[in-house]
Every structure is written in C-alpha cells, then in structure tokens.
C-alpha cells in the first residue's frame, strides 16, 4: 500500500458579507482542501486503497431578521426570488429565521457543517496518514 500521498488538509472558510453576483449574502461558506478516502482497488479481489481527493464545495447561509420578527409576505417573496437567483449560480442556499437562530443557533450551525462536509463528525483515517503537512 502506498502511503506516500499527503495528509488530510481540510478547511472551512466563512466569508461574511460576501458579494455573489448582484447580491450581498450574509455568509459564503467554502469547504476545501485535500481529503483521503478509502476505495476498492481496481484489480478487484476485494482489496482497499486510500486515495487523495480534492474537495471544493460552497454554500450560502442567510440569517433573516435583525430584530427576530417574522417577515411580511413581500419580504418572503423577495427572499425566495433572491434564493432562486443564487441557486441558479450554483450555490445551495440555507436560510434561517432570526427566531430559529435565537432559539438554538448550534443546531443550525451543526446542520450546515454536517451537510457541507458530509459528516456528522470527523472521519476515521489510518494512523499512517495522520501528522504534518
């Protein structure tokens, strides 16, 4: 097995007040770097090998309501239109109400990070690959 490939180096960038197209969004999230994943060997025989893969995923997060109040119908319509525009640029949009965040912000943040990284918690990796970059 070849362990000469690099270590996992995964990063999360959280960019507040980011400009996306004609919109300024609350947060643009980027999950990027190098991951190491387990896959079956091509020769067959049920063997496994570890492969280095590039990761680059983005997501937009919007936090509604500076005063925790509910939106009007017109505000809701504008937000939906804005979400469609942002999604058409290729970015998933996660929108949370102020009262939702006020009640339990970590529930929302954990959901965002889990969906962005695809993991509830960090993946196991072989001891051989742990260590410095």
């Amino acid at each position: 097995m070849d362990f000469s490939i690099g270590a996992r180096r995964l990063n999360l960038e959280v960019r507040p007040q980011a400009q996306v197209g004609e919109h300024r969004v609350d947060f643009m999230l980027s999950y990027y770097g190098t991951d190491i994943v387990r896959s079956e060997t091509r020769q067959g025989g049920g063997g496994e090998e570890w492969q280095e893969v590039r990761v680059d995923k983005k997501m937009i997060v919007e936090c509604d309501g500076h005063d925790f109040h509910e939106k009007t119908k017109e505000q809701a319509r504008r937000d939906k239109e804005r979400d469609r525009n942002l999604q058409s640029l290729g970015f998933p949009v996660y929108r949370y109400t102020g009262s939702e965040l006020y009640a339990d912000v970590f529930r929302s943040a954990a959901e965002i990070v889990r969906d962005l990284t695809g993991n509830e918690f960090p993946k196991d990796e072989p001891d051989d690959k742990k260590g410095g970059a």
Binding site: A7, R9, L10, N11, L12, E13, V14, R15, P16, Q17, D26, F27, L29, Y31, Y32, G33, V61, C63, G65, H66, F68, Y96, G98, L101, Y102, A103, D104, V105, F106, R107, S108, A109, A110, I112, V113, T117, N119, F121, P122, G131, G132, A133
Partner: protein, 149 residues
C-alpha cells in the same frame, strides 16, 4: 450589559451546552464549555483519568509536572486569546464587519462546529476604519494545517 445583550449571550451559551460537540458524546457533561478556561485547564490536568503510566506509577512526579503545566497552559491560552481578541485580523475587527448580532451568533457557532470537525477555519472580512477599507483574516488552524488558496 443591557437585558437584550444578556438574553442573547444566555441563548448562545444554552445552545452551545445543548450541542456540546465531542464533549457531549464522550462525557455527557457540557457545563464547562461555558466556564472560564483556567478552571478547565486545572480540572483537565487534575482529574482526567486517561493519563499515562507515569500517572499510575509515579504520582508524585506527575503531580509536580501538573503544577508546572497549569501555569504554562494557562499562559498559552491567554496569549492565544489575546492574539484572537485584538490586533490586526482579530475578533474585534471581525465583529465590526458584521451586520447584526444574529450574524455574530451564526458566525461563532459555525467556527466552533467547523473546529469540532478538525477543520482549519478562516474568516476573511473587510473592515472599514476611518473611511478606509482594510482586509483581515480571522483564523483557527492546527500546526499541521495550511491555508490553501
């Protein structure tokens, strides 16, 4: 502190303790996540049962090192917190760039959740000071992590 600020801080702390991260999964007790860091250092070194053989076999020697380590770790934390709290690319500049307290709630929780996953977390921001725009990066990285463009 105003009542609104107290409520916001209380809601954040409550949500943080409910989430708990690894602490919640491993110990079921997340109360110390919201106590001050020096208490945590003291308790972690004194009471953590997952210690080396030295803890089992040479307790006197271990105890002396623990006393040394408390001051060292505490100072490391204070140094790091000081770097994060003020100066270029720091928390105070970052907070200035946000639009509302709700955004601060979300940002803080995203940073903590990202770090919980072992991710290097960076927050690039534009800070307006005296009508001039300055760019900064508020970052959390382990020694082995590098920032890639």
């Amino acid at each position: 502190m105003s009542n609104d600020s107290k409520r916001l801080a209380h809601q954040f702390a409550s949500s943080l303790e409910r989430w708990g991260g690894w602490e919640s999964k491993s110990t079921g007790d997340t109360s110390h996540l919201t106590t001050d860091a020096s208490s945590y250092v003291t308790n972690a070194l004194s009471e953590d049962p997952l210690r080396t053989n030295r803890f089992e076999d040479r307790k006197d020697e271990w105890r002396q090192m623990v006393h040394l380590s408390r001051a060292f770790l505490n100072t490391c934390l204070i140094q790091q917190l000081d770097h994060w709290a003020s100066g270029p690319g720091s928390l105070d500049e970052l907070l200035d760039s946000l639009g509302s307290p709700i955004e601060a709630l979300m940002l803080f929780s995203l940073i903590l959740c990202g770090r919980e996953h072992g991710l290097g977390v960076s927050v690039p921001f534009v800070w307006t000071l005296r009508n001039e725009k300055a760019r900064g990066v508020f970052g959390f990285f382990d020694w082995c992590q590098t920032l890639e463009s």
